[in-house]
């Protein structure tokens, strides 16, 4: 196994596991950032430069911050020593293991194990941009609309409701 890949896989997995298992929510969020960064590095390994940096820009720069803010905003009124796992966590874990097993079996039994390694593609940002502006222009527009709608929706949902005259 490639040592770089092994390191990154380990980092990512460790970050992911820590992100869902730590007690302190902020630590969870920070570990999630580690996992995201590891994924971005994996993308770079896979020659997807632009996607890798976009991953950092969006996930580390925006989503992680959002999560952190949400954590800070939803903290405080709960007692400290509650169990961190939900009431039916055994069943949930069982299902998760089942899904993992199923996916593992599926990958292991598939022909991709014997898939040839093709020469590394070198997609330039320009090519991506041209694709976006030609073949994918409709999805691009739709996603722009979606982002706008989501932003407005998020603002409205999270906005404080007007109190009556005090």
């Amino acid at each position: 196994m490639d040592p770089v890949f092994a390191f990154l896989a380990l980092l990512t997995t460790a970050g992911a596991v820590a992100a869902v298992s730590l007690r302190n929510l902020v630590h969870c969020a920070l570990c999630l950032v580690v996992a995201f960064a590891g994924l971005a590095a994996l993308y770079l390994q896979l020659n997807a430069q632009f996607i890798g940096f976009a991953q950092i820009l969006v996930y580390v720069g925006a989503v992680a911050i959002l999560i952190v803010f949400a954590i800070l905003l939803t903290r405080g009124s709960e007692p400290g020593n509650q169990p961190i796992l939900s009431s039916s966590w055994q069943a949930g874990l069982g299902v998760a293991v089942l899904v993992l097993g199923a996916l593992g079996v599926a990958v292991a039994s598939s022909f991709v194990r014997y898939y040839p390694v093709s020469p590394a593609p070198q997609p330039t940002v320009r090519e991506l941009g041209e694709q976006l502006m030609t073949n994918y222009v409709l999805p691009l527009e739709v996603i722009g609309l979606l982002l706008t709608a989501a932003m407005i929706g998020a603002v409205i949902i999270a906005m404080h409701e007007k109190q009556g005259p005090r």
């Binding site: 869902v20 994996l42 989503v63 803010f69 009124s77 966590w89 993992l100 593992g104 390694v117 090519e127």
Partner: protein
């Protein structure tokens, strides 16, 4: 060069971890984190398949991931806003207590 199936295993592992987090934790934010992890696992799959595809110049996988990242950002924003709104209502982020849709 790392073969494809290793990426796929890693992706499956990440997906499993994310799913486990989403299914076992009480805190809504951690559930959201788990969902983000699953989404990223899928993204990794796409990138890996693109890298090993016969026509990488078509950039299909890249495009898909690009849009997926955009949607994930929207999803995170709306999801967190919902969590905050719900928190403001129930004064808790504990998923076990959100059951007003109980049949």
């Amino acid at each position: 060069m790392t073969p494809l199936h290793q990426y796929l295993f890693l992706s499956a592992l990440l997906f499993g971890v994310g799913l486990a987090g989403a299914l076992t934790r009480r805190n809504a934010i951690i559930v959201l984190i788990g969902i983000e992890l699953m989404l990223n696992a899928a993204n990794l799959n796409f990138i890996a398949f693109w890298r090993f595809s016969r026509h990488p110049e078509l950039a299909t996988g890249l495009m898909f991931v690009l849009f997926s990242i955009g949607i994930a950002a929207a999803e995170a924003a709306v999801g967190l806003a919902l969590i905050i709104a719900i928190y403001r209502h129930y004064r808790t982020a504990n998923l076990d207590q959100f059951d007003s849709m109980k049949g």
